[in-house]
């Protein structure tokens, strides 16, 4: 990621230099220019060698295509593994079923390591790691089914740990997302069970999801992982959990554990939602976490529009309703513009 960014900067520098020199004439003395070009050529060759980066626009487009193909391949191969096993498992005796289910994820791990040693871009390693994860999830589900075991959140602990270990070892962002989601489900399910309810009832306790989501964001800020991009990914997944919980709480106060009246609870969570969204935008700007910043903006707009619909749709004339929405959009734009100016001034 960092190597690709450096290569992008070199390409942008070269393009801008050509543009500048066309408008202003020659800027760099020929010896300096030759030195800079030689240095950049060497650096690009080195980065291409060590990280298999894309050094031209065409290569970058192909890389994006490779990433999409890798994602689609992961999903479809996972489906193939799961369906293939289900198609033939009834012909195996129980020990053979368990043997096949155990070997599946291990083969996937072997393939992941094999691919990671041979390619620097990790497209195939991502694919193999995804298949390994699917095989492990299949193993836990099917072996639980063989012994008729009741469903439990502990399976998500194993899946989450597996995904996070693979994500950390090979730098796979997709598995980081899966791992964080699985661990969050484990945490929420366990807390729900401790409270006396059935573990899968946790979606009915959005305040737990809100707390878990904010904890992930806090963790990403206070103890960011060393791998580039991982802190942002964790913060975004945490923010999604928190945002969904705030949307539910802001619109449906019956779901809240707070012993307050409906209006107070909904109003409180709308305010918390606005504060959280503004906090997400500020954090995204400060840390240059674009996805968090964009997502927080989207959430703020969605929350305000949903709440406006809840409050005014039934009694307000339609033209007035849409006028108010339009004005809210303008206010949001003004606020964001202010943010932008502040960021520019700070720079």
């Amino acid at each position: 990621m960092e190597a690709q960014r450096r290569a992008d900067r070199i390409r942008a520098f070269r393009e801008e230099l050509v543009e500048l020199e066309r408008e202003l004439g020659s800027l760099l003395p020929p010896p300096d220019r030759t030195r800079a070009e030689a240095y950049h050529d060497g650096l690009l060759a080195e980065l291409r060698q060590s990280h298999d980066i894309a050094t031209s626009a065409a290569e970058q487009q192909l890389s994006l295509g490779m990433r999409i193909a890798s994602l689609v391949g992961t999903v479809t191969l996972c489906a193939a593994v799961v369906l293939f096993f289900y198609r033939y498992w009834g012909r195996l005796l129980t020990p053979a079923q368990i043997g096949v289910l155990t070997v599946g994820p291990l083969i996937g791990l072997g393939l992941t390591e094999f691919a990671a040693q041979r390619e620097r871009t990790l497209y195939f390693a991502v694919l193999a790691a995804g298949v390994s994860f699917a095989a492990f999830a299949l193993a836990l589900t099917v072996i639980g089914g063989i012994y008729n075991l009741p469903s439990s959140p502990v399976a998500y602990l194993a899946l989450g740990a597996f995904a996070l270990v693979l994500a950390g070892s090979y730098g796979i962002g997709l598995l980081l997302v899966v791992g964080v989601v699985c661990l969050t489900i484990f945490l929420l399910g366990s807390l729900t069970m401790l409270g006396g309810a059935w573990w899968s009832e946790f979606p009915s306790l959005p305040e737990l999801s809100l707390a878990a989501g904010l904890l992930w964001v806090l963790g990403a800020v206070l103890r960011p992982p060393t791998r580039p991009g991982f802190a942002e990914t964790i913060a975004v997944v945490g923010a999604v959990f928190a945002a969904l919980a705030l949307l539910v709480l802001g619109l449906e106060s019956d779901q809240s554990l707070l012993p307050l009246s409906r209006g107070v609870v909904e109003g409180l969570y709308v305010v918390v939602g606005i504060v959280a969204a503004v906090g997400g935008i500020a954090l995204g700007l400060r840390r240059q976490w674009t996805l968090l910043q964009t997502g927080s903006t989207g959430f703020l707009v969605l929350l305000l529009f949903a709440k406006a619909f809840d409050w005014w749709w039934a009694w307000m004339p339609r033209y007035l309703f849409f006028l108010v929405l339009g004005l809210m959009a303008v206010v949001t734009m003004v606020a964001l513009n202010r943010f932008r100016h502040r960021a520019r001034t700070a720079r």
Partner: protein, 198 residues
């Protein structure tokens, strides 16, 4: 292989070993006897279709005539299943929670000779251990874990059976599918198919 890869291998092996051990220990102990249920009547068969070559047997319990087709069960108070009784005007219902149910073959249905499932819920309680102590005869009663939820309909709010844990029993490939299947409850309170006969 890098260290993380070995850790992932360990997670796979430990997790699978833990599940297999739990399952085997459950089936090794428990009641010596079990409840014989008729396949196609108290147990419906899901077997060898296009996408799944395994065989599973699903408990069939009589349901009421409501739209939601709730499982018929004896009248239970919320406190019997560990739930707080919801206020009549409260929008929030208590969350579903784990409980135990006792299943038995209903002699009235047997006598009437109806073709329906004879397997009925005879008791429900939050205390699974107490149910086991109260219904020790494994040839007549099956005590298994369940999830009880609060349900609101025109007659008010009442506890209903949301799901059995498990609803579906795996039929091992080693056992041939026959007319009758004996369901035993293991040491861990988990039911499993121990035998089949014509």
């Amino acid at each position: 292989m890098r260290r993380g890869g070995w850790v992932a291998v360990a997670i796979v092996l430990v997790s699978i070993a833990a599940i297999v051990r739990m399952g085997m220990r459950n089936q090794a102990g428990g009641s010596g006897d079990g409840l014989w249920l008729e396949v196609g009547r108290e147990l419906s068969v899901v077997t060898d279709d296009e996408d799944n070559s395994g065989q599973t047997l699903r408990f069939v319990l009589p349901t009421d005539s409501s739209r939601a087709r709730r499982v018929v069960m004896p009248a239970v108070r919320f406190e019997d299943v560990g739930m707080a009784t919801p206020a009549a005007d409260s929008g929030r219902l208590p969350l579903a929670r784990a409980a135990g149910v006792v299943l038995a073959l209903d002699s009235a249905v047997i006598k009437a000779g109806k073709p329906a499932s004879r397997l009925t819920v005879v008791a429900v309680s939050a205390d699974l251990a107490a149910l086991r102590a109260r219904y020790p005869d494994a040839r007549r009663f099956m005590v298994i874990a369940a999830v009880i939820a609060a349900h609101r309909d025109s007659s008010g709010v009442r506890p209903v059976l949301q799901e059995l844990q498990p609803w579906v029993l795996h039929l091992p490939t080693e056992l041939p599918l026959r007319t009758w299947a004996m369901v035993k409850t293991g040491a861990g309170g988990i039911p499993f198919i121990a035998a089949t006969r014509r």
